[in-house]
């Protein structure tokens, strides 16, 4: 399958009281058609900013550098109205808080039809029919009647389904999902993930899923990229990374998640907290919290180097990490 999206050297700076600071630095990854990539990391790791930078959904005075090629077309520096034509039609996005992402004062039907009005040439009746279709597609009962309801008349799960219906109105090629399940309780979370999987299959849609929940990544994504302090520290297929994590941070994350099939094991958390935007050191950003850090880690930053085909990690100890971790266990 051809490459849908290729991102290289992506750097985004945001305006903070202390001036323009880089929230995302030098991020590279690619995404093929129908592929799904999980962007995972603690809050403040820059995963959400990375996703928003693709569509340039950033506050007024943010700056984006590097390259984002969508179907071979460079998006960084594209004029606003050209980029706008692409949003919703080819790349769609859904958000974490369905209650605040849906406009509380507009009927759900209208919030779907306005998208169709921009991206399709359906007439009023056609749009209304399509809207009903979309609601049914996302599993909302009696969609015909629910069109004229308001967001506050929907339950948490229903609101998320409605938001997905709105996003998929123009059958986009790529869906960007910013922590879509975080605000939902577990049972509904599972339904939403299955819904997303089914829709991707039926509509041949690629997906980038931003989350801090490794279980969600494991269940929904083929490939994963772990971000820390604005950089990708490890990238590969889920199977490769989960089986043999090559970066201490990924290892620490995996160890802090209970593994259903292994008997009682001690969960270990990672000490300390990720560095703020301002104070990123010269060496590897994870060094202060890393159990395997050497002198070199403090001085020069490890590049994101391939260890196996399709599997890369940014750590001087990447090669020897599995045996080191067994000794320390």
């Amino acid at each position: 399958m051809s490459t849908l999206l290729s991102v290289s050297g992506l750097t985004t700076r945001l305006l903070t009281p202390a001036g323009l600071l880089a929230a995302v630095e030098d991020v590279d990854f690619t995404l093929d058609e129908r592929d799904s990539l999980g962007l995972v990391g603690e809050s403040g790791s820059g995963k959400s900013v990375t996703m928003r930078s693709l569509l340039r959904l950033l506050p007024q005075r943010a700056e984006v550098e590097g390259s984002v090629r969508w179907r071979g077309r460079e998006l960084v520096g594209l004029p606003e109205n050209a980029l706008r034509a692409l949003r919703g039609r080819e790349i769609a996005m859904i958000f974490q808080e369905p209650m605040s992402a849906l406009n509380p004062v507009l009927r759900i039907g209208l919030q779907i039809e306005e998208s169709l009005k921009v991206h399709t040439d359906l007439d009023r009746a056609g749009r209304r029919a399509r809207a009903v279709e979309l609601l049914a597609l996302t599993g909302i009962p009696t969609p015909e009647r629910r069109l004229d309801d308001f967001p506050h008349q929907f339950s948490g799960g229903m609101r998320q389904r409605a938001m997905i219906a709105i996003a998929l109105a123009a059958s986009p090629a790529l869906l960007l999902a910013d922590e879509p399940t975080t605000a939902l309780d577990v049972t509904i979370q599972d339904q939403i993930l299955h819904l997303l999987a089914r829709l991707r299959r039926e509509m041949g849609m690629a997906m980038i899923l931003v989350t801090h929940d490794l279980a969600v990544v494991a269940e929904s994504c083929e490939r994963v990229a772990v971000m820390y302090a604005g950089r990708i520290v490890e990238r590969g297929t889920v199977r490769q990374v989960f089986a043999a994590p090559r970066h201490p941070y990924t290892l620490g994350l995996l160890r802090s998640v209970p593994d259903g099939d292994r008997p009682r094991q001690k969960l270990r958390s990672i000490e300390g907290t990720p560095p703020g935007l301002g104070n990123r050191t010269r060496g590897c950003a994870f060094q202060p919290r890393c159990g395997f850090a050497t002198a070199q880690c403090a001085t020069d930053r490890p590049p994101l180097a391939d260890i196996a085909p399709g599997h890369a990690a940014a750590c001087w100890q990447a090669g020897r990490l599995t045996d080191l971790s067994r000794e320390a266990a």
């Binding site: 769609a92 859904i94 808080e97 992402a101 306005e114």
Partner: protein, 312 residues
């Protein structure tokens, strides 16, 4: 969105408010020192004449009886006769009300016309020059006494540039609007300042809200994002604020009418208080209270239509 039940409920709520206002006015007026008869007859009248007028006005009867008569007649639509100009209060109030209504409606319209676009500009250019200049001007506008602003506008635009007449009210409907522009602008300035500041904050919050991001992510044109999504949400709190300030707008009309020589109900109220013209004070207060309650209800309904969560 607006259920009839909600509208009816709100309409019924006006009744107790009106009763409260009528009773309060009736009592306050009776507390005013200085017997109205002597206020009307002035220094030179003899005591006999004062006593005669006092009895004629029925002021010697107990309060409850006076209130009974007043309430009875109000129900029949008779607001009594003004002791100052010896004309039925109903007719005077009807004669003077249009000027004040027109003035306050125009002022409200101008206030919104000023506040909404400027709040948008200030919000979109948050922190930059445009924002500080707009906020600064409104801060000055808010702190200037109404009569002073009125005087400046009159001197510059009316007497100076002759764009507008110097006060007065004109005869035809069109002339009314032409005459009332400057006073309405004077009255609108302070209200616009309040609305602008509130709306600017509301727009800032709406701009950064998720539904705005989602709207942009849907690729909707900026116009749709700003008006249908951002402004519509931001206006809700501003409409409530507007409702709260209607009584104040009317209060401001009192001075504006004096400065611009407009024969409005505001000035009639002040003259009546000074002349201890009980019937006119009571009648006018009741009429004004009804109008303000209706206006208050209208803004409530507008808000309910804007925000479905309220009307349920």
């Amino acid at each position: 969105m607006l259920s009839i039940g909600y509208v009816l409920k709100r309409l019924l709520q006006i009744i107790p408010t009106l009763v409260f206002i009528v009773v309060v006015t009736f009592l306050i007026v009776r507390l005013l020192p200085g017997d109205p008869a002597s206020a009307i007859l002035g220094d030179k009248a003899t005591d006999a004449e004062v006593a005669r007028l006092h009895a004629e006005m029925g002021l010697d009867r107990p309060l409850i009886v006076q209130f009974g008569n007043f309430a009875l007649r109000v129900v029949q639509g008779d607001l009594g006769t003004s002791t100052a100009v010896k004309l039925p209060v109903g007719r005077i109030v009807l004669d003077r009300l249009p000027a004040t209504l027109l003035l306050t409606v125009m002022a409200a319209f101008l206030a919104l016309l000023l506040a909404v676009p400027l709040a948008f500009v200030a919000a979109l250019r948050q922190g930059r020059l445009g924002d500080t200049v707009i906020q600064g001007c409104f801060q000055v506008g808010l702190s200037m006494p109404v009569f002073y602003v009125g005087l400046i506008l009159l001197t510059v635009f009316a007497a100076g540039l002759r764009w507008f007449p110097v006060g007065g009210y004109g005869d035809t409907y069109l002339l009314h609007l032409y005459h009332l522009f400057l006073p309405a602008l004077t009255l609108a300035l302070s209200l616009a300042a309040v609305l602008m500041r509130n709306l600017r904050t509301a727009i800032l919050d709406a701009l950064t809200a998720d539904y705005a991001d989602f709207a942009r992510a849907k690729g909707l044109p900026t116009r749709v994002v700003l008006f249908r999504h951002v402004l519509r949400n931001a206006l809700i709190s501003t409409v409530t604020l507007f409702g709260l300030n209607i009584g104040t707008l009317l209060g401001g009309a009192v001075i504006t009418e004096t400065v611009f020589a407009i024969p409005g109900a505001g000035r009639l109220m002040i003259d009546s208080i000074y002349a201890r013209d009980y019937p006119t004070i009571q009648g006018l207060t009741l009429v004004l209270a009804v109008l303000v309650s209706v206006a208050f209800l209208l803004t409530d309904l507008v808000q309910a239509s804007l925000d479905p969560r309220v009307a349920q």
